[in-house]
Symmetry: C2
Subunit: 182 residues, 2 copies
DNA sequence: ACTAACATGTAACCCGTTACATGATTAT
DNA sequence: ATAATCATGTAACGGGTTACATGTTAGT
C-alpha cells in the first residue's frame, strides 16, 4: 500500500542497507508496518530507479559488503508531499474473531487457550513499548516536533495493546463460564 | 486469508445469495471482515465445487432470480474443524501512523484535520455498534453459547473504537500545540 | 574443509482490488 | 423507450507471501 513511503520514512534520519531495513521492519517502524526482506529489496530497486534513493556500496571487514541506501532530495520532497495525499487504511483481519462466531460448548476451552496465549504475547510487546517510551519519550512535551509524531504512533500501539488485554480478560471470563459438553 | 470460513460462518443460521452475503459483508460480520462481491462470487464457486456449499435457484417476482447458497454437512464439519487450526492474523496497516512519523510544523494542522475526520467516522461506527449491543446483546449472560462469541467479537470492536477515540483526543491535543511555521 | 549466519536477490503463487460485462426488473 | 438498480459474474493488475538461489565471511 505504502511500502515505498514506509521505507523512505525509515531512511529519514540515517542511511541504511536492505538488511538493516529488514531488521527495522521487524522492530520499531515494523510494529506498525510489516515488510519482508524480499519486499524491501524489490522496493529499494524501484525507488532507486525512480531517483528517490541513491545507493553506495560499503566494504565491511568481516561481513559481506552492504549496499547503503539514502534519500535523495527528490525523495524527501516526494515523501513530504505524500503526507497530503489520500490516506489509505487496511483494517486488521483476525481469524480469532471469526472463530468466536463459531463458539460452542466443545471449542470454548480451546479458544480460551488461544486467547490466553495472545494475551501473553501482547504483554511482552507492551513491556517493549513501555521500555521504549520510558527511554526515549519520557517527556513528550520537550520532544522535537517530528518525534512527537513518532511518540503518537507509539502511544497508539500502547493504547491498543492495553485495550486488547482488557478485552482478553473479558473474553476469558465469559468463556470460563461455558460448561463443557456432557 | 480465511474468506471461505468467513462466508461459511455467515451461512450458519441462514441460507443466503451472493448479493445478500455481499451486503452482510459490508455490515455485521463485515465490521471484522471485509469482502467485495467479486471475491464472494468467486469463493462461492470454489466452495460449491468443493462440496461445502450447495446452491439452489430461487425465482423472485419483481427481482432477477437469486442463487441461494447453504452449508452442506461436509461444510459444517469443515468449519467446526477449522476452529482448531492455526489462527492467522493480519495486522492493520494505517498510513496515518506512517504519516505521523513525518510530522513537522507545516503538516501538523493537515494531520490534525485527518484525525478529526477519523474521529467522527469512528463515532458513527460506535453508535451503530452500541445500537446493536443494546438491541441484541443487552443481557450477555443469558445469550445462547454461540451468540456469546458473537457478543465478544462485537465487544472487541466497541473497545477498539473507544480506545481509538481516546487516542484521537490525545493526538489532537499534541498537534494543536505545534506552532505553524513563520 | 565444513557449517552456520549474513546479505542480497529471483520466481511462482495467492489474494484482493479495480475495471469491465451482461441480463433482468422497476420506475419514469 | 430509457434510465436506474439489482444480481451475477469475468479479466487484468498489483502487492505480499512462500520458496528457492547465490555468494561471502566467521567459527570450528
Amino acid at each position: 500500500m505504502a511500502l515505498a513511503q514506509a521505507i523512505m520514512t525509515a531512511l529519514i534520519d540515517a542511511d541504511l542497507s536492505g538488511s538493516e531495513l529488514a531488521r527495522d521492519f521487524s522492530k520499531s517502524l515494523g510494529f506498525f508496518w510489516n515488510a519482508s526482506h524480499q519486499q524491501i529489496y524489490q522496493e529499494l530497486r524501484k525507488l532507486t530507479e525512480q531517483g528517490w534513493l541513491n545507493k553506495r556500496e560499503m566494504t565491511q571487514s568481516g561481513k559481506p559488503n552492504r549496499i547503503i541506501y539514502g534519500l535523495t532530495q527528490a525523495g524527501r520532497k516526494a515523501l513530504a508531499e505524500w503526507v497530503y495525499s489520500a490516506t489509505k487504511t487496511q483494517a486488521a483481519k483476525d481469524e480469532l474473531l471469526l472463530k468466536l462466531y463459531n463458539l460452542n460448548e466443545s471449542n470454548a476451552q480451546h479458544l480460551a487457550g488461544e486467547i490466553a496465549v495472545r494475551r501473553e504475547e501482547m504483554m511482552e510487546r507492551l513491556y517493549l513499548y513501555e521500555a521504549i517510551r520510558r527511554h526515549h519519550y519520557s517527556d513528550p512535551l520537550q520532544l522535537p516536533v517530528r518525534h512527537k509524531g513518532v511518540y503518537l504512533a507509539l502511544s497508539s500501539g500502547i493504547l491498543q495493546g492495553e485495550q486488547f488485554l482488557a478485552w482478553c480478560d473479558q473474553a476469558l471470563e465469559v468463556l470460563a463460564r461455558i460448561d463443557a459438553p456432557a
